[in-house]
Symmetry: C2
Amino acid sequence: MQTLTKNKIKLINSLKSKKYRYKERLFICEGEKIIKTLINSNFKIVEIFATREFADNNNLSDFNFTIVSDIELKKISELSSPQKVLALVKIPKKNIENVNFSDKLTLILDKIQDPGNLGTIIRIADWFGIQNIVCSTDTVDVYNPKVVMSTMGSVFSINIYYTELSDFLTTHSKSNIYGTFTDGKNIYKTTLPKTGFIIMGNEANGISTEVEKFITHKLAIPSFNKSKTAESLNVAVATAIICSEFMKI
Amino acid sequence: MQTLTKNKIKLINSLKSKKYRYKERLFICEGEKIIKTLINSNFKIVEIFATREFADNNNLSDFNFTIVSDIELKKISELSSPQKVLALVKIPKKNIENVNFSDKLTLILDKIQDPGNLGTIIRIADWFGIQNIVCSTDTVDVYNPKVVMSTMGSVFSINIYYTELSDFLTTHSKSNIYGTFTDGKNIYKTTLPKTGFIIMGNEANGISTEVEKFITHKLAIPSFNKSKTAESLNVAVATAIICSEFMKI
């Protein structure tokens, strides 16, 4: 069993910044439920910081762990009310080169900025059995603590890659590249395939012009509001409706 | 033109609390885009507090308005970066007694707690042409500033009522009362009506037992993830998929 040193507090707090997460190749994960999911995943846990209560109720003997007081936990937590346990986790190496994208549906995210939206989208992908998400390099970092938390543990099941989308789409150029646009074809009246790419765009600006040129099928989620007071759907909500339409049997 | 007095600052800040909102029957609304929607709605604006820039670019002559400096705006804003304009708005009286619920679909919310979820659900209802939302009295208040903001203006188009759900469902007892449950019938394989109630439950606990007994049709959104790593969908995401299935032609 370890102790919570000043250096560790400093290290953990530095991981709130993307720069230090990738320098150390570490991220933090907080909360009872998500850490139980983490323990059962393939992610490599470097250290667990748990209150006595959490340690007594969970078998941590396979892990390098430190008992912390509520006051100590507060020093390393991102939350206003820390939740009994925090883990220091290795950022896995994900090699996009070896992935076969041709026999399944893949989500592509073009500059998603909001951590809550990315987390919710990962949870939706997990629900609908989508295994891979490819993000533009300027999409919010998946190991941002707010993203990790809002995935509710789905971050440990889905493969997430960051890459230049223009290069990726040039390499994997195919006929089934879908995106939503206001002038697209009604998704409810379109026959949708079980393989291909579904591209979701930035919250304010939608799909960028560089990425739009790769799209082979423009779709639209029609509004049923005759007075058109709702201008748009939140990107995570739109992702849910689109995944539902693509995946349902 | 008015000035921003100390008493007004005090009044506006008190409206962050539900108790004072209902005592004064006033709420606050912030941000350029949403205030443009507000101006075109039927809501009664008591006063607009705008920067010189906003006032110069928008015709406020029909309104009681006050020019404020950025420093003054900061004193009344909920936001870390205030957005040029804030309005003080009357809470409308909504009389549930006179509403005909029998010829349309209505959303019923059973104890939704998160302001962002309620705001997103209101935006979804607006998109799908659902005019009325009936909330349990313990659902988060729609005039909570975070809810108002996350509706992106849809709060001004949808009728939202708060009432005791057991009493409401007893009075409006009908054959088309839908709710989602893990053991419900696959929504993709169910013929759905264009009239009735769709009940959405609390984020952590789902539909309460008191409300469950009124449900005539239990539905499920099936997961397509064979390893079942995603335990559930966020309630706003589930609402979107359900509304999409009910409303699509």
